[in-house]
Subunit: 341 residues, 2 copies
DNA sequence: TTTAGCACTCGTTATGCGTGAGTGCTAATA
DNA sequence: TATTAGCACTCACGCATAACGAGTGCTAAA
């Protein structure tokens, strides 16, 4: 185990490295953090810490740099101190839908806010769980050959899809259909789906083909754990020295740009409610070995809401965690009708 | 005016520079393009062309590089000559129809397609003009305090917005409202709007406040020339040598990332239907002095569809223009909006 | 156990030099 | 007169070398 002083040295290295971005040497520590001890003493401690896997040297005559293991320890220590302040995010969802204009508006707002405050990249996502409940379904005749299929879930998520129909259906017919289906409001999507399938096979005979296709699309959206994701501006990445190298930037970018990659990433971290941190190789993506992801999520009503910040491994974890807390709070507290621009 | 040979030299420089990305010297031209003439002769012509503002030297002992003026001439010449190219890409283009599914689906697909085919960045946008006509409006009760406002325009654009209501309205009441408003289907938004305003003031009395707010939001979307924009992946930019420099990349990125900037850009080029090209400084954005934008747009039914490709000034204009032609043609050819397959 | 001192390592920056691609100019040539 | 060959000159680029400095490990003294 680590001695008290080793811990002190280690955390100082991490802290200083997060500040400066450059390998930190024994002299710096001796002058700035552990004024009582000489550089030589600290050198010895650092050599030990390196052996234990907490530190590494980029090259022979350089100072030390924290390993993922060191970050992990650092974060856990920080989180430990913070844990008192942490609290449930239960109310998050209610406020999301109530006070901002639809789920999408709220999440766009949140991701922008996180981005601005953290100076990294904020993300916000909502995942429909299998338990998502239907609030309302509707079919709206657009013209002779097109019907708009509308699905609203409890929690405020809205899906719509234009479906081509081989025959013209009157609005009355459609309304009748909708009325029947809506008797299932409040039930989970799985049940609704089965009912719809039967209905289509049984009573809609000749329309079955086009309906089935629409239903399949809908299934793709809903049956799986479909996630809607909002990513803040990536502009901040340009200011981070870690990504000045175009190669690294590119790697990270390719992940962030394609929604799928990011959703996978979030899913990996999604273990528990509350705040979680994944550092470097801890997420399996090799492109993200220099990155860290801080997430905070909470679920209820068949959907799970996740807020997060993505930045360099050398991230200001304290700040990010507190920002995350704040935005969460902001979302919960915000009194009425403000729609984030 | 340019002599025949000067033109030949100039276009060769442009062509070669587009290929190689490096300043082109007299010897190269003599060997590869104008085998009849010696390097010295070509050098003289190039000196003249430089004086005329068509070419420039990055530094004293370097070959020549085209100026914006040269690209302009090149593009105009190319636009004149092109017409008879017919090849490839069939399979991909055929997919367009299959993937179409509402305006958004089609444009997402189109921008991706343009990105893939051009190897630059494809964009696709639809702008609602003032003449946009209402196809259908609907109010759908979600729960006691929320109504989903649904607006469908001729042309297939769908807007929806969740509106908080201070009082519970029954679906029947809402349906009645919708029925009245829908008598205006087929009319321009301007008229519909006035009618809605009156209706709200006259018959909806106590709900006026919340309705007005929703209506205002809707106006923001529709009364102005609102543009919905889809941008393809930016990943290709990493392969372009012109943007290897992180500074330039950043500048371009900042424009591409924020939707507003891009919309402004499109608007600038939106002069006429047909294909238009803006090269370097021709668009006023200093960030885009090394870029070119090729646009092709067509309007009908109260909406204007724009497809475009954004890439380096040193762009393969021939290819991009032909790609753009094809994709656009495909989009216009089937104006029936999703013909069910 | 701690610290001062010293030799050593290695990345970074500056400097200098050779090379090659490309030019402009001039004089010879068709 | 228009074209071309020849030549001196320029300048970016790559490479080697050297100086510098931040940092280390090790040893011996306090």
């Amino acid at each position: 185990m680590l001695t008290e002083r080793q811990l002190e040295v280690l955390l100082s290295v991490v802290y200083e490295f997060i500040e400066s971005g450059e390998h930190v040497g024994s002299r710096t520590l001796s002058k700035r953090y552990l004024t009582g001890r000489s550089a030589a003493t600290i050198r010895n401690e650092m050599a030990d810490l390196e052996e234990m896997g907490y530190l590494m040297q980029p090259h022979t005559s350089a100072g030390r740099v924290p390993t993922t293991r060191a970050y992990r320890l650092f974060v856990d220590t920080v989180l430990q101190r913070r844990r008192a302040k942490e609290q449930g995010n239960r109310e998050l969802l209610d406020n999301l839908k109530a006070h901002r204009n639809g789920v999408e508006g709220a999440l766009t707002f949140a991701s922008d806010l996180l981005t601005q405050l953290s100076h990294y990249v904020g993300v916000a996502a909502v995942t429909q769980l299998k338990q998502a409940r239907l609030a309302k379904i509707d079919f709206i005749r657009v013209d002779t050959s097109n019907v708009l299929l509308l699905v609203i879930l409890e929690g405020g998520i809205v899906h719509h899809k234009l479906v081509g129909m081989p025959y013209d259906l009157s609005q009355d017919t459609l309304q009748d259909m909708a009325r029947r289906v809506n008797t299932l409001a409040g039930h989970e999507w799985g049940e609704v789906r089965v009912m719809l399938q039967n209905y289509i096979m049984g009573e809609l005979g000749r329309y079955a083909e086009s309906c089935r296709k629409a239903l399949d699309d809908l299934d793709k959206l809903m049956a799986g754990e479909h996630t809607t994701l909002f990513t803040g501006s990536l502009a901040n990445l340009f200011n981070i020295p870690d990504f000045q190298d175009i190669g690294r930037f590119r790697a990270l970018f390719s992940i962030l740009e394609q929604e799928g990659g990011l959703v996978d990433l979030l899913r990996k971290c999604d273990t528990t409610d509350g705040i979680g941190v994944m550092i470097g190789e801890e997420n399996d993506l090799p492109e993200m070995e220099n990155c860290a992801v801080v997430l905070s999520s909470s679920s209820s009503e068949g959907q799970k809401t996740t807020l997060g910040v993505i930045g360099p491994k050398r991230m200001n974890y304290e700040k990010v965690i507190s920002v995350l807390d704040k935005v969460l709070q902001e979302l919960i507290d915000s009194p009425g009708e403000n729609e984030g621009d």
